[in-house]
């Protein structure tokens, strides 16, 4: 349900942009989804297939780029990457309280005719 709602927002934004650009067809919709966004790409795909028929994006490909999570360690003043939601700094092992990337839910681009 979560992904359906998010896909609906993404698709409506995408179709809007496609129409503005004079598209007759949308071939690809590219999303950037953070590893810690709480969004499951498979569920997005399922929602995409349910929502696209009858739109300019019917039959289009959904391309999901996964953005890895990056944390900031205030003690070591360094960034580190981790897909663990409970990431701790690999050097000082103090849990990071600052997520710098990985929450993204973004419509990146469209391929259209």
């Amino acid at each position: 349900m979560h992904e359906l709602s998010i896909m609906q927002s993404a698709l409506s934004l995408a179709l809007d942009r496609a129409r503005q650009a004079g598209a007759v067809r949308v071939h690809t919709i590219r999303l950037r989804i953070g590893a810690l966004s709480g969004v499951v790409p498979d569920a997005l795909e399922f929602a995409f297939e349910a929502l696209t028929p009858g739109t300019l994006a019917e039959g289009a490909e959904l391309a999901v780029e996964r953005v890895p999570a990056r944390f900031w360690c205030a003690t070591c003043t360094r960034e580190f990457q981790s897909d663990d939601m409970f990431a701790e700094c690999p050097d000082c092992h103090i849990p990071s309280g600052e997520l710098r990337a990985g929450r993204e839910m973004e419509l990146a681009s469209l391929e259209i005719d």
Binding site: H2, I6, S9, L13, R25, G38, M105
Partner: protein, 317 residues
């Protein structure tokens, strides 16, 4: 699902991207000597009428009026005078439109609008989140009563159906507006913006928004609140924060509720606190019981202090 706010309907001002990214040079890059007929009826779905239909094989003078507001060049750089070729579907006119916009951008902007509205009124706004049955409604009702001498509270409560929670909250004497979301599993900024219009804000200092009971979806939707209060009842198990990290990670405050039942359900306090700190190291933690009143004094002090800080931020106060 966003049917209420109509996300993405035309008419809004896009942010960060030029609206008409329209390099409409008709990139028929014909570097091929093929012989297909040019059925040139690009159906631009523009806001303006634009139809030119060339029959197959027709000469391609392109002297039709183009009532576009944007640059639009028909560069048919074909050597052939009467290029009779067909552009097959999925052909070479394919192009990329960069968008780079947050999917929930519209909600985020409406949330900022709400935030400005709340700040201008000196309202401290709390978004209460938890799984169903953690005790949000009861806790809010008791908070309203506890705060009454110092802060006057209004409540917006979201549920899929029924106004049972609103009725329970009204017992506290606070003004309450119920949002029934239908099938939507979370509140969105637009719903809050509408609901708040039904609330008499005169004299209110605190606005509590009780979100739909759900530990997943509401985490993604900013409503314009100052703080997110996530409840975890001792009956739910100590590992809830690990199971639903996005929600707990977004918490400014984690309220452990129903602490009076701790012993009965074998609540492991150390583990619960460690799990919360692991996911939300910066969150304030309160251990409370709406039934016995345990922890409510500390909670009240905290809110009074937050409200003072809010007032200090308000240039008009």
């Amino acid at each position: 699902m966003c049917k209420d706010c109509g996300c993405g309907l035309p008419g809004e001002t896009p942010i960060g991207v030029s609206a008409h990214h329209h390099e409409h040079a008709h990139e028929h890059d014909h570097e091929h000597g093929h012989d297909h007929s040019h059925e040139h009826e690009h159906e631009h779905d523009h806001a303006h009428p634009h139809e030119h239909e060339h029959g197959p094989g027709e000469h391609h003078g392109h002297d039709h009026p183009h009532p576009h507001a944007h640059p639009h060049t028909h560069e048919h750089s074909h050597a052939e005078a009467d290029h009779d070729h067909t552009h097959e579907a999925g052909g070479e006119a394919r192009r990329t439109v960069e968008v780079r916009r947050a999917i929930l951008d519209k909600n985020d902007r409406l949330a900022e609008r709400n935030r400005g509205f709340f700040r201008a009124r000196g309202l401290l706004v709390l978004n209460f989140l938890s799984s169903p049955g953690s005790g949000k409604t009861t806790f809010i009702r008791e908070s309203v009563l506890k705060l009454r001498p110092d802060l006057k509270t209004g409540v917006i409560v979201g549920d899929l159906a029924t106004d049972n929670d609103a009725q329970r909250l009204r017992e506290s004497g606070a003004p309450v507006v119920q949002i029934t979301t239908g099938t939507v599993c979370h509140l969105e900024a637009e719903m809050v913006g509408r609901a708040v219009k039904q609330l008499d804000l005169t004299g209110l200092n605190l606005l509590i928004i009780e979100n739909v009971g759900n530990l997943v979806c509401p985490a993604s939707y900013d409503l314009g609140e100052d703080m997110r209060i996530v409840l975890l009842s001792v009956t739910e198990g100590e590992d809830k924060p690990l199971k639903y990290p996005p929600m707990f990670q977004s918490a400014d405050v984690v309220l452990i509720s129903k602490i009076d039942l701790a012993q009965a359900c074998g609540y492991d306090r150390d583990t619960a606190l460690a799990n919360i700190r692991r996911v939300a190291p910066r969150a304030r933690i309160f251990e409370t019981s709406a039934k016995t009143g345990q922890g409510l004094d500390a909670w009240r002090e905290f809110l009074l202090q937050q409200h003072q800080e809010r007032k200090a931020l308000d240039p008009l106060a």
